[in-house]
């Protein structure tokens, strides 16, 4: 095979790999940015909701013998409820307290969830087997079916979320709250309801992302910590609270990691990601798609 063709293949393979990574990152970042947009709360526990989502899907499949997609639906629904519960029990009582209290509560929830997972499922690494393990090869680029599913499902979820926010009344109330809190109150939007719903949607998204990504990785109690960190980088990069920012930021980070890992040095790929972050913040200190300063 001529060298040029191999180089091209390597490049496209890494683009595909980067898209897979980017899809996972974006889905996780979306949840964080949604909550931040509504409540100005950096939900540090989001990665652990992600972990919980993966465990629930695994649980449904191994104990109740559910099919992969059914298990995902159950897990998303369960996390939707857990998210609302968290908002109601942990964050709403802190609504009028100083801001720092909610942040500390988020860290507390994170530690709590990890401890619960260790108690319930142990520290073992588990594998979530999806029925889509086949390898597809197109023009020398190889990809497993599961990775294709991740890319496609991420796009569908993002479009779905966008339609929900723009085209439905409930969705619009969330957007309205994110855009202008006081304005939303004035037109009679119930802030509590919106917060509740946002937490539910964010947690549900985390469960969907985790269930999609888990088959290419492992399920274990601290699995959420690493994606959480990346997701926070992304929402800073994309602009805190911005939805397109989270999506674009996720793909930028995913592609940057896979491409720089190939052409520079894999040991520096995190470094490259952070250099990109610094460059973007130097040019646009509020992030790519920051909302107008209020």
């Amino acid at each position: 095979m001529p060298l040029g063709v191999m180089e091209m293949e390597l490049f496209f393979q890494q683009i595909v790999n980067g898209l897979v990574l980017g899809s996972i990152y974006s889905l996780v970042a979306l949840g964080i940015t949604l909550i931040y947009g509504i409540m100005q709360l950096p939900n540090f526990a989001h990665g652990h909701l992600y972990m919980l989502g993966a465990y629930l899907t695994l649980w449904m499949m191994t104990i109740y013998g559910f099919r992969y997609w059914t298990a995902i639906l159950v897990s998303v629904a369960a996390l939707f409820l857990i998210g609302m519960l968290l908002e109601r029990l942990v964050f709403r009582p802190l609504h009028n307290a100083p801001h720092i209290n909610s942040m500390i509560a988020a860290v507390g929830v994170m530690l709590f969830l990890e401890a619960v997972a260790r108690k319930l499922w142990g520290s073992d690494y588990r594998r979530l087997d999806s029925p889509y393990g086949e390898v597809i090869s197109v023009f020398g680029v190889t990809i497993t079916q599961q990775r294709v599913i991740i890319i496609v499902a991420a796009i569908i979820l993002m479009i779905g979320l966008n339609l929900f926010l723009k085209r439905t009344v409930i969705g619009s109330t969330i957007e309205a709250m994110a855009q202008n809190r006081e304005g939303a109150f004035l037109v009679g939007i119930d802030a509590n309801k919106v917060s509740l719903l946002t937490f539910g949607i964010a947690a549900g998204l985390a469960a969907a992302a985790a269930s999609l990504a888990a088959p290419i990785n492992l399920v274990y109690p601290s699995m959420g910590a690493m994606v959480n960190l990346k997701a926070f980088v992304i929402i800073v990069l994309g602009g805190m609270g911005s939805i397109p920012g989270a999506v674009i930021g996720g793909y930028i980070l995913g592609l940057a990691e896979s491409i720089s890992g190939t052409y520079i040095n894999s040991e520096y790929k995190d470094l490259v990601a952070f250099v990109i972050l610094i460059l973007i913040l130097t040019v646009k200190p509020t992030g790519l798609f920051a909302k107008e300063a209020r």
Binding site: L10, N17, V20, I24, D129, L218, Y220, S222
Partner: protein, 400 residues
Amino acid sequence: MKRTWKCLLPLSAAAILLCATACGNQSASVGSGGSELTREISIGWSGPQSGGAALYGKNTLDGLQMAIDDINNAGGIKVGNETVKLKLAALDDKYQPNETATNARRLKTENNTTIIFTPHSGGVFALQTFNVQEKFLIAAYTSEPKVTATNNPLTVRIPPRYDTYPKTFSEEMMKRFGKKVALVPGTHQYAKDWTALFKKTWTELGGEIVAENPVDYNKESDFAPAVTKALAGGPDVLFVGGASQPTALVIKAARDQGFHGGFIVMDQAKVEEMEPILKDLKLLEGVIGVNPAYLYPTEGTKKFVDSYKKRFGADKIPTSETAYHYMAMQVFAKAMELAGTTDDASAIRAKINDACKQLSDDNVPLLAKGITENGGFITEPKATTMVDGKYVQIPLPAQQ
């Protein structure tokens, strides 16, 4: 305010009760043997109980706990005219050397431990800066050769050194697959040292390194990008290694991308732990690594595997970590008996060689044949590799 106090009262009462019953149980279990004195000493442990390495930490603790239970159930150990029972004192260090040092100080002052186990090289190095001064023995579970190269008089290295492996691994893989290797090891210090040694060995044997692409085994969402790059160099063999489970994913990613060569697996990853992750064992064809501990051909190992299954479930197999910790605890207990002391670290250390010789392969798994002068257990590791769907054992050069 008043309500909080009202709440606190029953809570604290409950806590005290709980404490009392717990202590009560303990003293009840320590039966008095006639005129003999019975006391209890603590064995220290500092290792990861949370975070990504929590499972590894748990495996090491399971081995210790099993050994301690077996020793206590057999009546404890005889030290002078006393009967001594053992108790485990474990503290989480999250895999951080600085935390290991803090934990060791706590274990020493609060529990008066003379022996402290720690399952990572960073922790061992941290403890070696003050263990002689504070007079405690480090039971080091790490295959890092530097741990014993420093001649610390109160360190015991439990598993075989990793420099036993690269030559045999390399020769076998070169013979079967070819001389081009690509490296996808972890980025932790242990992996870096291992990789450096491996590169030297591989090139000295006339091999070529076509790509080097370390990745963080604990932080990666997908190993495909790293593997793609390594495979672009057209290697015959891949060098991999970190914790077993992510290592299995790296192997799977390489197979998914159409790699048909061999894999050299660092001793940190264990074949028996990769199997349940991969499920399809055909993926392990051409893998060379450390022979699973549970296959060690002695009666003691068989008994140990049986009692492990009884305790943790019939479908579970003990890892090397668990087996080696069990063995080490038995040896230390024997050494305390022989030395006639539970708190003189040097005296205990001096009796470890005799202790190894007095114990029997029929009761203790993976029993060390003795200890080298600089503190390494003399063990007999083997390599294992899959050829045509079957594991084949390969002898390794003896350790000095």
